[in-house]
């Protein structure tokens, strides 16, 4: 029963990790690619770490809490690095497949015209 639960958690975690990297490799532009690794991969590694906590806690050597440290660290740092990456991409004006809203474009054009004059 316990082995079944650990195996299921390992499979689910590895599958989510794979889906995250698949998103990174297959999606269209940087802003959509950002979704895969920051959400799916983090969830997958979280599931793998829960499987590891269960595995080491039920071997009769007391509760194992190393993994919780890795989990907490990963869940805190993933959004921070995703935010920094998105900010960098916006700063470098990385191409996006989504068209810019017309109003924003008009306002941008007006602003650029003012500054160039």
């Amino acid at each position: 029963m316990l082995e079944l639960a650990i195996s299921a958690l390992i499979i689910v975690g590895a599958a989510f990790t794979f889906i995250g990297s698949l998103g990174l490799a297959r999606l269209g532009d940087f802003y959509t690619r950002l979704h895969g690794p920051t959400k799916a991969t983090t969830l997958g590694v979280g599931a793998l770490l829960i499987a590891s906590v269960t595995f080491f806690s039920t071997r009769g050597e007391g509760i194992s809490l190393h993994e919780v440290l890795v989990t907490v660290f990963l869940f805190i740092t993933a959004p921070v690095s995703a935010h920094l990456l998105a900010k960098t991409a916006l700063h470098l004006r990385v191409h996006s497949i989504a068209p810019t809203p017309a109003q924003v474009e008009v306002a941008d054009g007006a602003q650029a015209g003012e500054t160039s004059r």
């Binding site: 499979i11 990790t17 794979f18 990297s21 940087f30 590891s52 190393h66 440290l69």
Partner: protein
Amino acid sequence: MLNIALIIAFTLVCAALLLSLWRLVVGPDHPDRILALDTLYVNTIALLVLLGILLGSALYFEAALLIAMMGFVGTVALCKYLLRGDIIE
């Protein structure tokens, strides 16, 4: 059953590593490459956790924790460099 699950998981995580490596090589922009490096280190943590379960050793978590910390610092440093042209101002 655990061994079969571990074999499947190793295959999936290694495929994930290869896909991120492909994105790291192909690019096309700098943020894409930084994101690929970020994904690579998270996948490496997953691989180390699986190795710890397979070999029944808790030693690998120290390595996983170190990779988690250093990987985050590396991502932040690279982003800061692209954003500001400098890492520590």
